[in-house]
Symmetry: C2
Subunit: 336 residues, 2 copies
């Protein structure tokens, strides 16, 4: 009889099964990260360490490790590659915070606030270079191709997002293009490389890439929804950040599309940067709720979450699969 995994968990899903599954491997990855962020230039480990030790979930390296477990990989190459993935992610965060002028991340002051934009840009470049050194040491051209391709797509997605800033008429499709590039591409690559090092068939590679990509989109959609849920357990993100920065996300896109002329003029002013008071945020959250923009952003997230889970269909039941399914359930349940 077929096992049908559906997004209707009996209890609140958590990341715990995945954390437990990869705990031993993750220690190895953390050792590589710690070792390879060192430099004779003291500012580098100081600044990199602030972010790397700063309460991140290590979501992407965990996905590499869990995927490796799923495909029965028994070697150690994935530790170095998972560290490379985390370095790419960290470099991106450092540059993102400069680009957005953010002052808080995960409840801590950002590196650009503490050490300045220049240091954040340059240490980001360093971590990005280090990630390539790690991949080169691994020696797989296929892995290099996947991760250098993902890096280029992330950068393209970031530029796309930048040119979309404060454009209230952005539309859902272009928004999806952006998050597909800036978030989902690295999730996909992180999962896919596990199949490559395990020398699994193309079909499993594609399945893991699809799992990662869809999870990444779901993850980003929920993140964007959380920004408008004032009482959310926010995982360190400050509610209202996107709103105050005039960032176009799906809740806003839907509320704008569904709104009347009066609503649209509110959103134009808000996204244009003329409504940044707490009362404006309250009004925005209210408009997003009453147009069902929040519910439907989460419904979209569940759609991609379900696709992520179904992408795992060809793998037999095992603890790794259960953990990866629950990770999706957790990702889409965060905002409730």
């Amino acid at each position: 009889m077929a096992t049908v995994h559906q997004l209707t968990p009996a209890r609140a899903p958590t990341l715990e099964p995945m954390v437990r599954l990869v705990a031993g491997d993750l220690n190895q990855v953390n050792a590589v990260i710690l070792d390879r962020m060192q430099s004779e230039i003291p500012l580098i480990p100081e600044l990199a360490g602030h972010l790397i030790a700063g309460g991140g979930k290590r979501m992407r390296p965990m996905l590499t490790l869990a995927s490796a477990r799923l495909v029965g990989y028994t070697g150690a190459r994935h530790h170095r590659l998972a560290a490379a993935v985390e370095f790419i992610h960290t470099a991106t965060l450092l540059h993102d915070d400069v680009v957005d002028g953010s002052d808080l991340r995960r409840g801590k002051r950002t590196a650009n606030i503490i050490w300045g934009n220049a240091a954040s840009v340059l240490v980001g470049d360093f971590l990005f270079s280090r990630s390539f050194e790690l991949m080169v040491e691994d020696g797989s051209l296929k892995v290099l191709k996947i991760l250098s391709g993902a890096s280029a797509i992330i950068a393209e997605g970031e530029v796309n997002q930048l040119t979309a800033a404060r454009r209230v008429d952005l539309g859902e499709d272009r928004y999806l293009d952006i998050i597909d590039a800036k978030t989902a591409a690295l999730f996909a690559a992180a999962c896919r490389i596990a199949a490559v090092v395990a020398e699994r068939p193309e079909g499993e590679e594609a399945a893991l890439a699809a799992y990662g990509r869809n999870l990444g989109i779901a993850f980003q959609l929920v993140d964007d929804a959380i920004d408008y849920v004032s009482d959310a357990s926010t995982m360190g993100k400050d509610a209202g950040d996107d709103f105050r920065e005039g960032k176009m996300t799906l809740p806003v896109i839907l509320a704008y599309a569904r709104g009347d002329a009066e609503a649209r003029s509110f959103w134009k002013a808000a996204i244009g940067g003329h409504r940044i008071a707490d009362t404006d945020l309250a009004e925005a959250s209210d408009r997003i709720r009453t147009t069902r923009a929040l519910d439907d952003t989460l419904a979209r997230a569940r759609h991609y979450g379900q696709r992520a889970i179904d992408a795992l269909g060809l793998f037999p039941a095992c603890p790794a699969k259960d953990a990866m399914v629950e990770a999706v359930e957790f990702a889409v349940a965060r905002a409730y």
Copy 2:
């Protein structure tokens, strides 16, 4: 009888022989550059093109091409790799201009002034990723190792320079460490990879790396000197930029070390950012000249230039070697 190349040219040396030597190849490289800086996101080719088409000398790709000619390489792999080298360089320039807050480069407004810091950071990241994609397409792990290593060293050098900013007591050795990393490492890698694709012996690889590294140091030293030569043919660089930014370069390091208490307090104020008027620049240039700091910066440059030329000793005489020797002579003669 041995041919002794010395830095005493009978006529004014130029880059012309190298430009002529590699002209055909450079067209191929430019085609790769143009092709690979494209993107569906219009801002990317627009911003990248501004800098890439903006009058750069293509010094680093020319070095790859000339080195390939020197070792008798007859394939076409070096076109793609020379483009990768230029992309790394371009990405570095974009980030440098953000870090330094520069408003002019090669006599044109910088990308960060036209499109903003955020766009410059992100398009730099894109070009950096693209450079890795080009290398991965080439497929040589050895080349990937050399260029990813150089990238990490460049980023380290940039951070080192940042932490050295406005430190008047920097010292010549630490300064040399900085330019070795931020400038010479990519010159060395650009030359060295030609020997790798041509599958030449380790000795030739090391010789080309030494040529590039020493040329890179000489090149940077002369650049730093030019900043204090008001009537120089400046190759697009504005005299006084380093001074106004409080950048520690060898002319300042020597003038400070050789100065009395009064001179040192001038330099402290200047490097601290309290002397940015044209009269201050004139005074600084004067102090650098009278302490022979300018002459001796150029003498240091000639030392490294001579080492670059001697590194080519093991290669037989040929037009490529002549062009590479004259390129060094040109590099060190620019400030006269």
